[in-house]
Homo-oligomer: 397 residues x 2
């Protein structure tokens, strides 16, 4: 390729997908309400790593996820965990800023952070390894068994989880590689859950991503600082629940659109509740149509997922990603798809669990979804300075 290739094959190659609205707003004086912010579109854009709270929770969703679950090797003690955390934190800090971690010989793989975040969570056993069981949150234990769970141990509880998210798939891949190769003395990879969302998150619709059922997923998430404080943050820490949910596209797609919308309780196109209004308006479960029938089916997903009367605390931050693996031919599958459901809250026992209990009891979507993996993690506060490591307060206390 000569230099003319720069023009011909240049910038477009590889993932540039920005919405009409976004870019036009940036360049078109006719849309003064969307000021041009060049940093929003750069492969080099970074999310601050250090801060009172870890990134990757409130951070607007990126396109790609590698969620990695580790088992801490037998025979480790607190000092080992400190070494692992110190090493991982240093590396993640560099990677998220687009700089080369100590000892890395791959600067070309680390210089496009593209909004990379690495978020660390600890499972219950990490507190035992560190000898700090007395400081373990009471909710950091296996979730209650739900009747419809079909949990596969392959997607089970890990001792440490790293949630790696970013907009550049090479950077996300290399970051996982780098953090795994740092770990083997201390930790063994149990599983990797790889997920994606649409570039359409930037679609000019609402910012809410779609899942593989076509559903806008996460409409009722918190959005104000007060809501985040009230639902998600316990001081500067939070609790992460990971559920792997298989979705049966074959039978789902046998439904007509009306039946799909009825099962969800929202319109497919814009996510508006079937009781009316826009995507972000409240769902009115008692609203009736002209025949006196409920507009929102009482067994629809939204009706069952909404907080119980008198329990406004039953809200969570959903941050799910889609997965799509090659179908299992031996099982006659046409697809092997679903969702890596990640949610954040103060206390899973009073937030996720009652919601999931209602869904498990009765949710029309249960016909087409099955929970096949589960885990709960404590997400420690952020690192307040560049020499602090994840969970330092816990581990150095």
């Amino acid at each position: 390729m000569g230099s003319s290739a720069f023009t011909r094959r240049g910038f477009l190659a590889g993932g540039a997908a920005v919405t009409a609205g976004g870019l036009l707003a940036a360049c078109n004086e006719a849309e003064p309400n969307e000021p041009f912010d060049e940093n929003r579109y750069l492969t080099g854009q970074t999310i601050p790593f250090d801060g009172p709270r870890q990134a990757g929770v409130e951070t607007p969703h990126q396109a790609h996820l590698n969620l990695v679950g580790f088992r801490l090797n037998d025979g480790l003690g607190r000092a080992d965990l400190v070494r692992l955390m110190r090493s991982w934190t240093t590396d993640a800090r560099h990677l998220c800023q687009g700089t080369t971690p100590p000892g890395s010989l791959e600067p070309e793989m680390t210089d496009k952070p593209a909004r990379l975040t690495v978020t660390c969570g600890l499972g219950a056993r990490a507190f035992e390894v560190a000898g700090v069981v007395d400081k373990r949150p009471s909710w950091l234990a296996p979730l209650p068994e739900f009747s419809r769970d079909r949990l596969d141990p392959a997607w089970g509880q890990a001792d440490v989880v790293l949630q790696i998210c970013g907009d550049d798939p090479i950077t996300v891949s290399h970051t996982m590689r780098h953090l795994i190769r740092t770990a083997p003395t201390y930790a063994t990879t149990l599983w990797v859950q790889q997920g994606f969302l649409s570039a359409q998150g930037a679609s000019g619709e609402s910012g809410t991503p779609r899942n593989l059922f076509g559903q806008l997923d996460g409409s009722i998430n918190p959005h104000t600082a007060d809501e985040f404080d009230g639902q998600v943050w316990d001081g500067d820490a939070t609790a992460m629940v990971v559920r792997r949910i298989w979705m049966n596209l074959d039978t789902w797609e046998e439904l007509d659109r009306g039946s799909r919308e009825n099962a969800i309780g929202r319109r497919l196109d814009d996510g508006a509740p079937l009781s009316g209004g826009g995507e972000f308006d409240d769902v009115h479960v008692s609203a009736l149509n002209s025949y006196g029938l409920p507009l929102v089916d009482r067994t629809s997903h939204v009706a069952r997922a909404m907080p119980a009367p008198g329990h406004p605390e039953q809200r969570i931050l959903r941050r799910p990603y889609n997965y799509d693996l090659p179908p299992d031919m031996s099982a006659g599958q046409l697809s092997n798809s679903g969702q890596i459901f990640i949610c954040f809250q103060k206390d899973p026992m009073t937030q996720f669990v009652p919601i999931q209990q209602r869904l498990d009891d009765r949710d029309q979507l249960n016909t087409w979804i099955t929970h096949i993996g589960s885990g709960v993690y404590w997400v420690p506060p952020g690192t307040r300075s560049s020499d602090e490591y994840w969970a330092q307060q816990l581990l150095s206390g």
Copy 2:
């Protein structure tokens, strides 16, 4: 989320990754040489589907690949293959234009084509099924066995291959889903090879993507129309070779950068040959340093891959994607990564095979790579009108 969420969480969410150069050029009058072309950045951007040659060959690489290999079911005849091709072509044409295929109830999953292309190739057995063996190209047969091949039948020859590429991972996923669900009467999915490239293809470097060894991969690709005609197109058809190449990152990363560059024969940072010049300049294998030693090792990858003297036809269009699967814990792997090497040429026997024979004989990279899958496909001409289907000339003759 209220409407304020539009601004707060809006366009960035989900994969917007455009280079500094590209966007600044679009908006910054100080760079007049890069005129603003709004269509280059839109999720809605389409690649024309109909035309004398199929898209997905010369098309600048997109970020995501789902390569699907199908086996034609037993007992089919030409009429069945025609029905399958007609159906797939109609669907692919709609999907690539961002419109909803007949019978699809998922318009929300098909309205962001983001440069989607679907490219169809036929394996040798498809000609038998259709009863047109007499029209089968002589090269459409298993490749010669290379001594270092460790082929896994799981990644073997298919009867039909669909190469689905696009910049929006949801669209790529749904397109695969849609085309697989159309197929079961006629064809069974043998394998799916999922790959990615960096949003960095749009990095402001050269447009050449990196592989997971950090190497700019494809520098010597054709770029002029004459070069494409000379190397790639046989009339309006072409030949596709698919090789799955496992890359041992663990041992590769034990090398210092000098050793890595020596094995490749190019600089890691900018892809320039070690004999000097820029990425797209010729490699001079006889160039010597001041000690009289070769600048480009004779056993380096570039030295072995370049056309043999007097054989300028030994050139191909490389269009590879990276893969990165969860490591196999039971095998003690730290990574399970590599490349879905796809190349296009007039005739694999006189182009790919002699190149690969030289590499198989002696290529420093062989220490770290292993070919584990192989297949050869005839890529029929494009559809010249919106009522033509793939391979119509072959199947209706």
